[in-house]
Amino acid sequence: MISQKLQEAIAGVSDKVDVVIAYQQGFDKLHATPCFVKKPEEIKNLIWNPLCVHNLTSYLPSLKKKKVAVLAKGCDSRTIAQFVQEGLINRDNVTIIGIPCSGVISVNKVLQAINHEPVEDVSFDEKGNITVKTSKGEKTMSLQDVSPDKCKTCRYPTPLIYDVLAGDPIVSDKSFDDAYADIKDFEGKTLEERLKYWEGEFDRCIRCYACRNACPMCVCQDSCIAETRDPHWISQRATLSEKFMFHMIHALHLAGRCVECGECERVCPMNIPVNKLKRKINLDMKELYNYEPGVNPEDKPPMFTFNVDEVTIKEHKI
């Protein structure tokens, strides 16, 4: 199920680490699920295909004291670089098996296309198509049509940091401006339109906190101020202002830290564009401090530091 090169890469490191985090098949052929490999014979269960969407590096801070090897796509590798910047992991304990990735699949988009019928079989062909077989027949889709939005503007298909690279590096032709074109577009709307947009989006929120739980950078875990009673930032009421406030907490706690792995949007059951606020802040961070999260492990996150003379911040006048 996985290429020879990847198998060798995993076998090569597995005896030096406590656990290898990779992917295996989930409850059906359309779903992959994380897999913790502790014995070499378990490697045969692993899979690697465009359905391997999860950001496995999310587990690293909680396994800080263990020796771990982890599979990382280009976007996932930014998470690791950000962890290193913030001292959340010990780089010496982590072995990164980088996989150049030409784009994953949005399982939600596939499910929508097949009308949520139970999946019997899934196959991929060389032309870049996915074929899903259900009891109602087969459906073939181009991978590009069912890829998540983040893959369409991906600038880092090859991991930025890795110890072993399983595969040939892929070069992206996308630019920074491509990646933030939708943010710039949105800024062209009027204030009223923007407020109405966000109220409409956040009103659908059911406060399941899946976006927070899936977020690799949300490291407060059980102390998240969205749930603590002391301080009591937000109540349990299902009103728009409480939902709005929750998303503001998530966005502001990720200011200048979000690596845009897209996990929050992937797990959102209500399809709220949760990542958009964080990407707006990232755009500002680039403009103000020429900083991009998770690109260089040596960087310092902008909110963790300051310049005495901030040349880019102009004093405001009333």
Binding site: L195, W233, L252, A255, P302, I313, I318
Partner: protein, 143 residues
């Protein structure tokens, strides 16, 4: 919060203990005339002001929020306002993205001796908020 007067709006001010709160006190002791729309919350340092304080205030009924601390390089804790400056600038740029007019939020630096500057800041900011009108008017009218 009962409405004091029909014309009055709600402005929340976060003032650092060492400079701006002293500056506001100086303005008071000097008997400078100031608008009364502002409710001042004293914080140890402008670095204590979490951008979420501002958001929470704006979402829960404030029409404007003012944050004031010591001038850069004058912080009592030497670098609190440097961190504050970065955070507040980030918020200032985020608010319009959400559809909240960034004019409703203002951050500045006022030292303890600058009573007149404080008076000017409050007067100008209150005037601006009055020009913008209440933030939550529509929601309060609908039954």
């Amino acid at each position: 919060m009962p409405e004091v007067a029909s014309q009055e709006l709600r402005i929340v001010g976060f003032l650092c203990n060492w400079c701006s709160y002293g500056g506001a006190d100086t303005a008071g002791v000097s008997r400078f005339k100031q608008p009364t729309d502002i409710r001042i919350i004293r914080v140890p340092c402008s670095g204590r002001v979490d951008p979420l304080f501002v958001v929470k205030a704006l979402l829960n009924g404030a029409d404007g929020v003012l944050v004031s601390g010591c001038h850069p390089r004058d912080c009592h804790y030497s670098d609190g306002n440097f961190y504050a400056r970065r955070r507040l600038e980030m918020l200032k740029r985020l608010l319009p993205f959400l559809g909240i007019d960034e004019k409703r939020f203002y951050y500045t630096w006022v030292s303890a001796s600058e009573g007149a500057r404080w008076q000017q800041t409050v007067t100008d900011f209150t005037k601006r908020i009055h020009e913008l009108g209440p933030l939550h008017a529509k929601k309060e009218v609908t039954p």
